[in-house]
């Protein structure tokens, strides 16, 4: 195949192979090879970058600006870094509404002020009409490692607990609705949210965090598989423990979507030692954005890379890295 397929950007298996074959092969270094959400450079500076291409740029619960800020803050949080500075490039389709652009930028300003993040560098390009849909925002975030925490850790043991900070799939369904792929009457907002504060609280309370990753493209399946591959461990997840949004569950049932492949933008998977699990949940439940946190599973074996889901009815399945596009089905 000599063309870039849409699946390369969807966060699943094809994304992973693309990164290995085209990026790592050319730019390999130890820091990049970790394939974490960001990289530690210069002892305590963490850098992360992301591009946001969602169309339409406005959806229930947010817009592309909020997405960009929260995405960056959460990537830094996954590395245990407090956000400090950012650079931003805007690529805008000619004719894009200035009023809409202002709303997007105002949203970004709100989060900069809330988290005391300074925009220190940027770039703006405008491309001809129809060469782009709407706009693309790229943000690069610079954070400071908080209290010398080092993430992700390399050593895991059976019994380590997997925490999920809330129900999955709300962002995906909100965007699919904005695109007109699904339609229904019912209240559903994207889960897009900045999660630095709960993470900071965990660090402040001395929780021995081993791993944090935000659940984005590819959904819960992708994050769990990334962890399993990174650490070469076997995870067992208990489906009954996974928090569920009824509306998302209903949409998935009607359209045949796999809920564990759906993207979020405001949920974290956190791995902590067994002895810290209870306290972790207590701390997280103290924040509105993470009040539905649950321990959803454990590390069960090391030296073997696998993610197993124990279903509600007693079946066991392998939760694989998702393949790509979310498709509605009829059969």
């Amino acid at each position: 195949m000599d063309k870039v397929l849409i699946t390369v950007g969807s966060g699943g298996k094809k994304s992973q192979s693309f990164i290995k074959e085209e990026i790592l092969s050319r730019f390999y270094n130890e820091k990049l090879a970790v394939l974490a959400d960001g990289a530690l450079i210069d002892n305590d500076i963490i850098i992360t970058t992301d591009a946001f291409t969602v169309f339409p740029p406005f959806f229930d619960g947010g817009n592309i600006g909020k997405l960009a800020m929260c995405g960056m803050i959460n990537d830094l949080a996954s590395m245990g870094a407090e956000p400090k500075y950012m650079s931003m490039s805007l690529v805008i389709e000619e004719g894009f509404s200035l009023e809409k652009l202002r709303l997007i930028l105002d949203e970004m300003k709100f989060y900069c002020e809330k988290f005391n993040i300074k925009l220190v560098s940027g770039d703006t390009k405008v491309v001809e009409k129809n060469k782009l849909e709407g706009l693309i925002i790229n943000v690069t975030g610079i954070g400071k490692r908080y209290k010398n925490i080092l993430l992700p850790q390399k050593v895991y043991k059976p019994g380590d607990c997997l925490v999920l900070t809330g129900p999955v799939g709300e962002h995906s369904i909100a965007v699919l609705r904005a695109k007109g792929v699904v339609n229904f009457d019912g209240n559903l907002n994207s889960d897009v949210a900045p999660l630095w504060e709960p993470v900071k609280a965990l660090i402040d309370e001395g929780i021995k965090i081993k791993f944090i990753r935000d659940v984005t493209r590819g959904g819960l399946s992708a994050v769990l598989n990334e962890l399993a591959i990174f650490a070469n461990i076997k995870l067992e997840i208990c489906e009954e423990r996974i928090p569920v949004n009824d509306i998302v569950a209903s949409v998935c049932e009607i359209y045949g979507f796999d809920i564990y492949s759906l993207a979020c933008e405001g949920r974290l998977v956190i791995v902590v030692p067994e002895e810290d699990a209870k306290k972790t949940i207590e701390i997280l439940k103290g924040f509105t954005l993470t009040e539905q946190s649950e321990v959803i599973g454990r590390v069960v074996e090391t030296g073997k890379c696998m993610v197993v889901l124990n279903t509600v009815y007693g079946g066991k399945t392998i939760l694989d890295m998702p393949l790509g596009e979310i498709l509605p089905r009829i059969c």
Partner: protein, 365 residues
């Protein structure tokens, strides 16, 4: 009111019936139960039933995966229209990744050809209205999806939409059961029949199965439904009953949905048809009736220079589909043929047996 529906997912009830069946099957020996429908295959795994009653009862997956049995010729026709006639192909998401000759509708879309996905057949009208190009809807599925395709055609006629036509890939569930029965390939002690096809056609539709002396039960899809169906089938096997029963009466009647059957009979005619991996099946498919020639893509377009290649050399989907082998007996399974790199549609379709096994049985080693 909600309770009546939720009952069939009730864990306590399911657990009770599960324990009951586990006890009663002890007097049975190596019963083979064929679940016709791909969704039943998945659900039986998902609910933890698949290996639960061994060695007394073994579930065998059947050919009830309409995407899996879509033939290479049918895919080649769709690809031809895309590439040579510049049409917009409108399809359910199920068909997007099915491979033929190394390509799929998905890969063709990334090459720039126009492929649109719809959730419901009638949505295809909206696609056609937004363009001047010829649009072709791929009607895939068993009898359940046919009323949707029929409604699309009738609506197109009513609204005088001229740039829409249909390629019918619809397949006939009764015909395949008959064909397998006549070939002596229904090597099974009982059959779990598809609940939602039956909701449309009625359970009487399958009454000819009794001529093969095999009991059959129409079954729903919740955990309790499957166990109720299995339990009913075990009763029939023990009593030597060779008929059709229905364990999904809340959704299925004897005669089915009268209006849906009428519109199916009006808009479609039964034809012989190639089932992928199985071969030509007498009365195995449905095409549009002559009255609807204008909406039949096979009649609207000329297919000069059309060629297709039989690509089934490394694929044993056919044997899997009729329950002759289990997926891991296919040498390609899990090695060359994975959901990521599928050789055959059984590994692509959500109802595909190979995908079900890949997803659910690897966990056991």
């Amino acid at each position: 009111m909600d309770d009546a529906i939720k009952l069939f997912r009730n864990k306590e009830l399911t657990q009770k019936l599960y324990s009951y069946i586990k006890e009663r099957v002890k007097k049975n020996n190596n019963l083979r139960i064929l679940e016709f429908c791909g969704t039943h295959t998945h659900n039986i795994f998902q609910y933890g039933f698949r290996y639960a009653f061994l060695p007394h009862v073994r579930f065998i997956a059947g050919p009830g995966c309409p995407v899996c049995v879509t033939s290479d010729i049918e895919l080649a026709l769709a690809f031809y229209l895309l590439e040579k006639k510049g049409v917009v192909i409108i399809t359910y998401g199920d068909l997007l990744k099915v491979p033929y000759n190394g390509r799929s509708l998905s890969s063709l879309r990334s090459e720039g050809y126009q492929v649109e996905i719809v959730y419901s057949a009638i949505d295809a009208l909206n696609v056609a209205k937004k363009t001047d190009k010829e649009c072709v809807f791929l009607g895939v599925g068993f009898e359940t999806t046919m009323p949707g395709t029929a409604a699309l055609i009738e609506l197109s006629k009513e609204k005088n939409v001229k740039n829409l036509s249909v390629l019918s890939f619809h397949k006939n569930t009764k015909a395949i059961i008959k064909a397998l029965g006549n070939l002596g390939e229904l090597k099974t002690d009982g059959i779990l029949l598809p609940g939602h096809v039956s909701a449309v056609v009625g359970w009487e539709y399958f009454s000819e199965i009794s001529s093969y002396s095999i009991p059959a039960v129409v079954v729903g899809f919740e955990p309790l439904d499957i166990l109720l169906g299995l339990n009913e089938l075990l009763d029939m096997i023990e009593k030597g009953e060779r008929s059709i029963k229905c364990a999904y009466k809340r959704a299925v009647s004897e005669k089915g949905n009268r209006k849906m059957l009428e519109v199916i009979n009006k808009v479609f005619k039964i034809v012989d048809c190639l089932w992928r991996g199985i071969g030509m099946v007498k009365d195995g498919g449905f095409d549009l009736s002559d009255e609807y020639d204008f909406y039949n893509a096979k009649k609207r377009f000329s297919f000069d220079g059309f060629k297709y290649e039989d690509t089934q050399k490394n694929c044993m989907c056919g044997d899997v589909l009729i329950g002759m082998i289990e997926p891991y007996e296919c040498p390609s399974y899990g090695v060359f043929c994975t959901p990521d790199t599928p050789i055959g549609p059984c590994m692509v379709s959500h109802e595909g047996t190979c995908l079900a096994y890949y997803k659910w049985s690897r966990v056991n080693g």
